[in-house]
Symmetry: C3
């Protein structure tokens, strides 16, 4: 149970009406019962709010809560920011009691476990690994030899942290992520067909049958403070130096970060993005879902790529891009419109050719 | 061992020839040995059947089994439906003996385990979780606090079921799936570059350096009866209400379903599809492999999207779509053909310009 | 610690200068300390090398190591091949001591474990499974009933090997991969909307509400020698025969290989590639990141597909392709350039139409 006053404090905003109202949970406006706090931070929710049974709500700035028949309200200027603060207060968090090491956890005698660390059932921690104070690792997580995790991490079930990975403080990791698999890097004894095709943009030359030889990953993965990694996302080790993810960067589910990539700070890497390897990404870059990043290219600061953008070449700082291959968003929209008009254009050209042929014909007759 | 009669019963079709023939297994027609039942439900298999050693086969309706030298056959009108019924009979299923709780399973004292439930090695079940009668959970599965799973589930190894997830009856889940990770939802204190770019379709304005603040997931995931989820697929929790998957919907491997999506009934969501978040999908929708669905859009009933379609805006019920961005399939094919003819069109225009320039020239001479 | 002589032996190349120099590790040229071996196999690194503190380096053929102020060097003709050999020597490998079965490993009494096999904590091995001599399985790996793994496998944490999967020698598998999930194969009692749409290229006809019926996977997965599989990659079982992966093929992270696909030898399948099902791929095929392969098509030998190529129809051997839908790379580039010039082309056509209209007008006046 929480009160309207509790929420007002979290939002650092004044209570309007009765701050002592108590709630069991937050709810969408149309589904809110009489004991729920309705979250209706944009005016489009006003109808749904009227249809629900809420007695109190979080509302947009300037909303007339009394006219809506509510007994209390808090208004906010920025809906999503309010949502962040309210949900942080109401999230019960995972059932991982602080400081409890489950008896089935396998911790190497050489590992260093900080104060108040929780390890769930069947967790394994390798030789020389360090886990910072206050960190919580859920069931089936494995931390390999020499890995270092900072303070106050929250690592959900069956995440794999590879050998010699280093991670900053306040790391959050969703289930099934793999930090520190081996890089996908192979070479043939002689030049391969794909190497020739890349050089010539298409011609592979004579094909030679030859096996792929692995280039091992001597580097690892290095992750800054306040990073989040999504479910079943994979971040590969670097070849010589580490693959890096900068402070504050958030990575969504099923993302593939190949070896030797270097990602800046405060980036958002959305679901199913893939980065081949060896590329550099600036700060505050946003890659929409299913974007692809070619190997060994550079993407500047503050780039925003729309969903499914495939980036083959370098991108200047601040560019907003879209498409396969990626171009500036307005070019993409222009091209796309032109393609939609293309059948009409082709008709016009066919017509013109007839008319002009007739003109040529008659001008010859004239002569 | 099974007989031709067994299969005829499963198919609800008459046996032709000797129903007592016994088989060790089903096989493709060209590879079938004398003790195998050949599966040759379309006429294109007749040659392969002749090359194999099968003495009996499942054949297409009207096939002349005697002319093929077989000793027995069952004919079927719909090949894939027959395949479903035959394979259901012959599938030995996983080695999870009914009603056995492995001694290493960690079940919270508050959890409710139904009758005849099997839990494999190293399974964990949290406080308040409920698992319906007859359900089977393989090794390394974790079920978090408050999750509810219906009757007769088959959950393959190391699936993660998050806190407060609710799942209907007859749930099938392939290895490594994550049901109920946290949603990928972040906000900055002030308006961010990406928000500005979305509003203006490209212009980010001045860039301000600011960290992302998490919006927590208070909702969970709610899944209907008869749903299947593929290997390493991820379905995120909702922000306030649950992310939902309707009855009968089947989801393939490595699919990403972000927070607040609402998927209808009897849909097919193929491999590596990604749904950003907050979108609604109708009933009987088919999304081909690698499709992408933008956030906060609506897709009607009976939509069919071809492979790798990227859906940025709402789609009307019954539409058949393709492309990046998605358009009706026939428009896509028309555009695509026009693009292939574009270099020729450009040549024609260049020619026309010359001819017309000459005409203009000579018409001036005339005057 | 290793010496320059050790590396020269691994590379089968002569030492230049002092072969007894000792190193703690290899490093990128610009970051190399005095006890590091700098890896600078291409001339572009010469500046970085000068900036670092390395006393010895691996260099490109013909490099003047003395002029660079080094005390020793080995030169190599093919940089990436040298990288493969050096990294193989220096990789410490995972901390899985040979021949140790962790006391928590659950091995079925019917399973056959070869000599010198290592099983990590919480590994499970099912009835009738066979694991070849010298293989190492890390923590949380599960091997289901009847699966067979060859000699000298290295299987990283929490890989799932399904029932009756067969794998050759020297298998390498990154964390979280799922080999042998069930195929995604469903059918409706009557013809479904999607079947109609595929036949008519768009028209679904009348929609009938009907549930999907599973086609079970009786086949399994069969993998040749020297195959590698990436983190969280999924390879599904076949319907009747096995899904197959040929000798020497390397598969990256988060790849989806649906049921009944047949992949040849020495292929490279890059990150997030998806193959729907029932397709055949030749030998030495390279599919770039995020490529998609439609169901039931054939791709010849030595095909190279650029990143995010979506392959809907058969591809002849040796083709180098790109695009959605896939076309030959030079056609794609031509189309793409033409699209960029399309707005200009449309302007030219508009201009022509005016000019020609005037010509027509004046030719009428003339008459």
């Amino acid at each position: 149970m929480f009160t309207l006053n509790d929420i007002a404090v979290a939002l650092n905003r004044p209570v309007e009406g009765d701050g002592t109202l108590q709630f069991a949970k937050a709810a969408e406006p149309g589904r809110a019962g009489p004991n729920d706090l309705a979250l209706a931070m944009v005016p489009t929710y006003s109808e749904a709010l009227a249809a629900g049974q809420a007695q109190a709500a979080i509302l947009w700035e300037g909303a007339d809560w009394q006219a809506m028949g509510l007994r209390g309200a808090v208004t906010v200027p920025r809906a999503r920011l309010a949502m962040a603060r309210i949900t942080a207060v109401l999230d019960p968090g995972p059932d991982l009691a602080g400081g409890i090491i489950h008896p089935t956890a396998q911790v190497h005698s050489d590992a260093q476990i900080g104060e108040n660390v929780s390890l769930g059932a069947y967790v394994t921690v390798g030789a020389g690994a360090k886990i910072g104070a206050g960190s919580r690792l859920a069931a089936h997580v494995s931390v390999a030899e020499g890995a270092q995790i900072g303070r106050d991490a929250l690592i959900h079930p069956r995440v794999t942290i590879g050998a010699r990975v280093t991670i900053g403080d306040r790391f959050t990791c969703q289930p099934g992520a793999v930090i520190g698999g081996d890089g996908f890097s192979f070479v043939t004894e002689q030049e391969s067909g794909v190497e020739k095709a890349r050089k010539t943009l298409g011609d592979q030359g004579a094909i030679t049958e030859q096996p792929w030889v692995r280039i091992h990953s001597l580097g690892s993965v290095s992750i800054g403070d306040d990073v989040e990694v999504g479910a079943n996302t994979c971040i590969d080790k670097g070849t010589v130096a580490d693959t890096t993810v900068g402070r504050g960067t958030k990575i969504d589910n099923l993302v593939h970060i190949g070896h030797n990539n270097r990602i800046g700070e405060d980036c958002l890497i959305c679901g199913q993005v893939g980065m081949a390897g060896g590329s550099t990404i600036g700060n505050r870059v946003v890659l929409g879902g299913q974007c692809g990043v070619n190997d060994n290219i550079s993407i500047g600061d503050d780039v925003v790529a729309g969903g499914a953008t495939k980036i083959f070449t370098r991108v200047a700082s601040g560019a907003v891009i879209l498409g396969y291959p990626a171009v500036k968003m307005d070019s993409h929209v222009a091209s796309y419109k032109a393609i939609r008009r293309l059948p009409r254009l082709a008709e016009q050209v066919a017509e013109l050719r007839k008319t002009v042929a007739n003109l040529v014909q008659s001008s010859r007759h004239d002569t």
